[in-house]
């Protein structure tokens, strides 16, 4: 009976939330408060797929859901609330029947890296995808090895792991685990001979700290590594992107499946590959997958096109406190051929908590913007001086760089002055402060 009431209350809170236009994790939070073991009392589908990692979780999960649905499978996933246990509970309880049966073929869970262990106390994923682990939100998460230590206890021995073979730290999860499938990107036009970036987390082995060597790297420390001490090295892949051409916007999976990229970023390549790998493991044909992800446009708002005054703008979301996310977007902008203005906004470091922590700016490779077609750089927001200080230590011509503490004043000015291509690189926390002044493109 208790189960019935908890589910009822959860559904009611969600209904009211929907009326007032707010999707949140509150229903699940209340349900867990009323009945802490509610998730063990509900009947979940046989297949539970979980996805975690520093970057690409939301995009990967969105594509997995789209593919599985195209294959005729009924999917429930936590696309409204948070990726912590409250959000997962909200998704499950608001979709299950009053008797507690989740009428779906697949439960798909985007899981926060640090709190995976809390979600998976109540149920165990059959497939667990780990995309990558890098320096991310140090203020909250600590460094990537501490995130690794937080995920490891959440992995059940019976769970099938799908690991990114190109990430030396993620690959460590395979130690002592039998059931592992690997995905990775073969050497292709975008690869370099050695890791890139301001810092080199691939210099030393995550297991023994002996020096590592690289046969090639795709970005930062993601690539084909071998430890000179313990032999830890890139594993052979079960699913591989065999060729990727970001300039043409095409990638090939396993030598035969061609996919066009709506977003020509290396992240998108890995997210597509991870989604491909897990869906193949779930028995979906490569034809079905290719149909869904070919030119797939993400709905999660990571890329927004807009206009302001004479500017034709594109906003790329780059979580603050995540240097690899920034590097990826900066590399994307640097690879463009036409002249442009680049805006970096840092007004609030986080939307969830206050911090004045800006040391992560020194981990970002802003020198990527040191190319002729980037004609002007606007550093904007409360922390524009932290940005300007950081930029004064790049090779970028100071004449190109302007700083503006007041976003609103700058937006008003841009409505009447200037024109051309504009790329805005910023975080969820600051995105709306500028976008609210712009016209969204239909």
């Amino acid at each position: 009976m208790k189960k019935f009431f908890v589910i009822l209350i959860c559904k009611m809170i969600r209904f009211v939330g929907k009326l007032t236009g707010r999707g949140s994790s509150l229903p699940g939070k209340v349900a867990l408060r009323l009945c802490p073991d509610i998730l063990t009392r509900v009947q979940l589908p046989k297949r539970i797929i979980a996805v975690t990692g520093s970057n690409g979780k939301t995009s990967t999960v969105e594509m997995i859901a789209a593919i599985l649905r195209a294959d005729g499978q009924r999917v429930v996933y936590n696309n409204e609330g948070s990726n912590q246990v409250d959000g997962v509970a909200t998704a499950i309880l608001s979709c299950c029947s009053f008797s507690g049966k989740l009428d779906a073929d697949v439960l798909l869970v985007e899981s926060d890296e640090r709190y995976a262990v809390h979600s998976f106390r109540y149920f165990r994923p059959t497939e667990f995808v780990i995309t990558n682990l890098y320096r991310d939100q140090l203020t909250r998460n600590g460094h990537s090895e501490s995130v690794y230590d937080a995920i490891a206890p959440a992995i059940h021995p019976d769970t099938k792991l799908l690991l990114n073979a190109d990430d030396p730290l993620v690959s460590c999860f395979a130690k002592g685990h039998d059931n592992v499938k690997w995905f990775g990107l073969d050497r292709c036009t975008l690869s370099s001979d050695a890791p890139t970036g301001v810092y080199r987390d691939g210099t030393y082995c995550p297991l023994c700290k002996a020096p590592m060597t690289y046969e090639f790297a795709h970005y930062n420390h993601i690539g084909a590594y071998t430890c000179t001490g313990c032999g830890h090295s890139r594993h052979d892949t079960d699913y591989a992107v065999t060729d990727a051409d970001l300039e043409q916007g095409v990638l090939t999976i396993d030598g035969e499946v061609q996919v066009h990229l709506a977003l020509r970023s290396i992240y998108n390549v890995y997210n597509i590959l991870a989604a491909y790998a897990v869906c193949r493991e779930c028995g979906v044909s490569s034809e079905t997958i290719a149909q869904v992800i070919d030119n797939y446009i993400l709905k999660n708002g990571r890329v927004v096109r807009f206009t302001i005054g004479g500017y034709d703008g594109t906003l790329l979301v780059s979580k603050h406190e995540n240097s690899v996310a920034y590097d990826t977007n900066l590399r994307y902008v640097a690879a463009l051929k036409e002249p442009c203005t680049v805006m970096v906004i840092l007004d609030a470091v986080s939307r969830k908590y206050f911090t004045s922590e800006t040391s992560w700016l020194w981990d970002i490779d802003f020198d990527l913007l040191n190319t002729p077609q980037v004609e002007k750089i606007l550093l904007v927001g409360q922390y524009c001086h932290d940005l300007a200080l950081r930029f004064s230590f790049t090779g970028i011509d100071p004449e190109k760089v302007e700083y503006h503490a007041d976003i609103n004043a700058l937006a008003e000015k841009m409505k009447v002055e200037g024109a051309g291509k504009l790329y805005v690189v910023t975080c969820f926390s600051d995105r709306q402060k500028f976008l609210s002044h712009t016209q969204k493109e239909a």
């Binding site: 320096r135 140090l138 203020t139 909250r140 600590g142 460094h143 990537s144 090895e145 501490s146 230590d149 301001v198 810092y199 080199r200 210099t203 030393y204 995550p206 700290k209 206050f354 911090t355 004045s356 922590e357 800006t358 040391s359 992560w360 700016l361 020194w362 981990d363 409360q382 922390y383 001086h385 932290d386 300007a388 200080l389 004064s392 230590f393 700083y403």
Partner: protein
């Protein structure tokens, strides 16, 4: 003059933008009219420390710290001699813990260099918090951020005598870091010398005075550094007064 800076383990110990402490110090010394050589040392590499003007090691993960310690022990005598003769040094984050007597984690206890009598005990529990505090070195407040998994006990002379906001070595509000003569250790990120122009000037002043060089007046300023400090100082002071 030509300054020689020794940078220990730049790739192994480089969390939280630590390297930028040296980036700004180098620029500052250059603005003072000096030339600067930065000599990097990787584990196993030989280096001559005898004529060093400044020694630096950045923050690393707890595992990287143990690897750094395994190599750094061979420099224990040299470092102690240089510290006794007043050579300024900065050890950031987990590197600070190498200066104490020992470091303990779940696997065991590791003997450290023993420049001071403190001990560090690491656990899975992390302190992650903004810091606002004061030092005996000058009047201006020190700002930064702390992300550490250790409790440090037995520090006689902390770098920050109090933390109005944030965690100290052992507890909320207590002293943070360590001062051993001109050797500084601190878990503060920022990076410390980037966020705190007074501390940068302090370090540069020691480097110059040991070489008998007077500082030029007025002191040079790195553009945007003061503004960045003022912004953080105001925000953190407000929060420390709550």
């Amino acid at each position: 003059m030509n300054c020689k800076i020794i940078h220990f383990y730049p790739h192994l110990m480089n969390l939280y933008g630590s390297y930028a402490n040296l980036t700004v110090l180098r620029r500052y010394l250059e603005l003072l009219g000096h030339s600067v050589d930065v000599v990097t040392v990787a584990p196993g590499e030989e280096v001559n420390l005898s004529d060093a003007d400044f020694i630096f090691m950045g923050a690393g993960t707890e595992r990287s710290q143990k690897a750094a310690l395994r190599d750094f022990r061979r420099f224990a005598d040299d470092i102690r001699t240089l510290a006794d003769s007043g050579v300024p040094m900065l050890f950031c984050g987990t590197a600070m813990e190498l200066l104490g007597k020992s470091i303990t984690d779940e696997q065991g206890t590791y003997e450290a260099l023993g420049l001071a009598d403190f001990t560090a005990v690491q656990s899975a529990r992390r302190q992650v918090i903004d810091v606002y505090g004061h030092t005996e070195l000058f009047d201006a407040a020190i700002v930064g951020f702390l992300n550490k998994s250790s409790v440090i006990s037995g520090v006689e002379r902390p770098l920050l005598t109090d933390c109005a906001l944030g965690w100290g070595n052992e507890k909320s509000g207590g002293g943070e870091g360590v001062l051993i003569g001109n050797v500084m250790g601190s878990h503060l990120t920022g990076p410390l010398l980037v966020k705190n122009p007074r501390l940068l000037e302090h370090v540069a002043a020691i480097i110059c005075s040991r070489r008998g060089e007077a500082l030029s007046t007025p002191l040079p300023r790195i553009p945007h550094m003061e503004e960045s400090y003022i912004a953080a100082e105001q925000q953190l002071r407000l929060r420390s007064e709550k």
